[in-house]
């Protein structure tokens, strides 16, 4: 039976709220607090946490702890680890729940070591079983699901997005206990200088998009006339992303082509790669086109709820048993028609908005 739970978060890039997934983790923390009859502490890190703290002040935590100041504005390992360590020690919690943001994924494992505790990342479910907390996460890149518990404490768990309903509540005044942390000189050898977007002309990775569009190597292969049409493929895919607002994923074979001197889609980088050695993004819907292959590729849309595929091969392993609908058709033709339809739909709805105004 755990007596104290710490919900740990950092402020978002905007500075006045928390990353979206943090509210989902807060929902989980509140659920467990109730199940275990525990005390909940909130810990926040950022340049100024006041506005973000107000968004969750109504959650009913016993304490809200914070480490703030210019030194903690950016995601730097040394300062984030020092801040999280100070909050964890002050809270004295046995269970520490945090969102699996890139910032925390880069620092909280180190904090677990400093606290002589343990850490688990990419956690998808937390459940109380016979009074003990059990966690679920994937092993072998989303191919085997493990359910486990740990005896070491404190136990830091980084939870994935999309696994729990987000907590919602009205903003309220927050009573924040500031914990002073002075960084040693050795912790300031690294300076974060900025953020750089990928080389793509357009932003193609959109984590909050409703739809994931997966492009396979077929887009760059010879078509019915015996020639590849990479330029046409590029235009079709970018147009689709523009009119649909979808995020773009690519199969490994397509992404790797740039290193093999084959025709490539100019905007496709390793950051777009989904699958066994890429990412496994979470979107409500997924549409795969010109993809082929088996399990290593299919893990790329393990967390996509509704899936459809367009492929010329009716026996494609990417789709059979993995997709809800498999259209046997030429993706070049289908996506061209689809773009026209979505563009028309977009035009009609924007005209409707204008006429209402």
């Amino acid at each position: 039976m755990s007596k104290s739970i710490l919900f740990l978060a950092h402020v978002s890039d905007a500075g006045n709220t928390l990353p979206k997934t943090s509210y989902e983790v807060l929902g989980t923390a509140l659920k467990l607090t109730k199940q275990f009859g525990a005390r909940l502490t909130i810990g926040l890190i950022g340049a100024d946490v006041t506005a973000a703290a107000e968004t969750i002040a109504a959650a009913g935590a016993d304490r809200i702890l914070a480490v703030s100041g210019p030194d903690f504005a950016t995601a730097r390992y040394a300062s984030d680890a020092a801040a999280a360590e100070a909050i964890c020690r002050s809270a004295g919690a046995e269970l520490i729940l945090a969102p699996a943001t890139s910032r925390f994924m880069r620092s909280l494992a180190g904090v677990a070591h400093r606290l002589n505790g343990c850490v688990d990342t990419h956690v998808t479910t937390l459940e109380a079983v016979n009074g003990e907390l059990c966690a679920t996460r994937w092993h072998y890149r989303q191919r085997i699901e493990g359910v486990f518990r740990r005896s070491a404490r404190p136990w830091i768990m980084l939870l994935e997005s999309g696994c729990e309903a987000a907590w919602t509540g009205q903003p309220a005044a927050a009573k924040i206990e500031e914990i002073p942390v002075t960084l040693p000189k050795a912790a300031t050898r690294t300076v974060v200088t900025g953020v750089r977007a990928p080389k793509s002309d357009a932003q193609t990775i959109r984590p909050d998009a409703n739809l994931l569009f997966v492009a396979g190597a077929g887009w760059t292969k010879k078509q019915a006339d015996g020639k590849p049409h990479v330029d046409v493929a590029e235009k079709l895919i970018l147009d689709f992303l523009r009119v649909s607002g979808a995020s773009l994923g690519g199969s490994k074979s397509l992404v790797d082509q740039s290193g093999e001197s084959e025709a490539v889609l100019g905007f496709m980088t390793h950051l777009n790669q989904v699958g066994q050695t890429g990412s496994t993004p979470r979107h409500a819907k997924g549409l795969s086109t010109c993809c082929h292959g088996e399990e290593p590729h299919v893990v790329g849309w393990r967390f996509i709820n509704e899936r459809r595929a367009v492929n010329l091969d009716p026996n494609c392993g990417w789709a059979r048993g993995k997709a809800d609908v498999l259209y046997i058709a030429d993706a070049f033709e289908v996506v061209a028609k689809l773009n026209a339809l979505l563009a028309e739909k977009s035009r009609i709805s924007s005209e409707a908005v204008v006429s209402q105004d």
């Binding site: 990342t121 690294t190 750089r196 390793h270 498999l326 030429d330 028609k337």
Partner: protein
């Protein structure tokens, strides 16, 4: 940087991604069915780290690369037959489990002990490389835990680029949300880098490199002692592959217009 870097790459073996993986229960927790029979490869992100390390070492005179691998000796030997032909390194194997169900804390402890045992290493020239996550455990925790044990405060994960600047400092690009990179400047070694894919292609096999490496690889494998990995209080209740099989509706008789119409309606719902 006049004396070069001492680059230690941590990377182990994982089952070839094309293999079907089936979990089985053992007295020591979950394992893979016929695990020792499965063909293995060097963990993909660790492989990128190795290639980046070799590239950096080739550009900075006086640098040297070590590859520290925790895994079953037979599997390490198999993988070295190909990896050793690609880039120059000194191999430091540890005969232990490379399972995806092994505890990251125990693996990090073993790695730290092994690295600290390399007599030649200068901690002020040390760069620790590895994959930001493995294709087995996939936790992204081992490198951080290792860095803490080696008391390295400058750590970077999801690294796609490391550039040595004129004053000896590093510019580092780390992956963050939305397909973007965070840019940092670090004053220099010691530092730890958990690599994503980087930017280098896979080096071609070079038999001369292979022959040079194998002079140290085989004796090192012979010397490697078995090292147990404690479970660290990690207790599995189950390990199972996903069972969900969808009833795919195969649509063969619609025109592109009709398919586009159907998809457009679905996208808009």
């Amino acid at each position: 940087m006049t004396n070069g870097y001492h680059i230690v790459v941590c990377g182990s073996v994982v089952p070839d991604p094309l293999q079907t993986l089936e979990p089985v229960a053992t007295p020591n927790g979950p394992a893979l069915k016929n695990e020792m029979m499965l063909p293995a490869v060097l963990d993909p992100w660790a492989a990128h780290a190795l290639y980046e390390a070799a590239d950096l070492a080739s550009k900075v005179a006086g640098s040297k690369v070590w590859l520290v691998s925790v895994g079953p000796k037979a599997k390490l030997q198999q993988v070295m037959m190909t990896i050793a032909q690609r880039v120059n390194f000194e191999f430091v194997p540890v005969d232990s489990s490379a399972s995806g169900f092994a505890d990251a804390h125990s693996t990090a402890a073993l790695l730290a002990e092994t690295i600290q045992g390399i007599a030649e290493l200068d901690p002020w020239r040390l760069l620790v490389f590895g994959g930001w996550e493995s294709a087995s455990r996939g936790a992204g925790a081992t490198m951080q835990l290792l860095g803490e044990r080696l008391e390295i405060l400058d750590q970077f994960q999801g690294v796609d680029q490391l550039r040595v600047l004129a004053d000896g400092s590093f510019e580092v690009l780390e992956r963050i949300e939305g397909g973007r990179h965070q840019v940092s400047v670090c004053q220099g070694a010691p530092a730890l880098f958990g690599w994503a894919t980087g930017n280098l292609p896979e080096p071609r096999n070079n038999p001369q490199v292979g022959m040079a490496n194998m002079r140290t690889v085989m004796p090192a494998l012979l010397r490697a002692k078995p090292a147990p990995l404690p479970t660290g209080g990690w207790h599995f209740l189950s390990a199972s592959p996903p069972k969900q099989q969808r009833q795919t509706r195969v649509v063969k008789d619609l025109s592109p217009d009709q398919i586009a119409q159907e998809i457009a309606e679905w996208v808009g719902k």
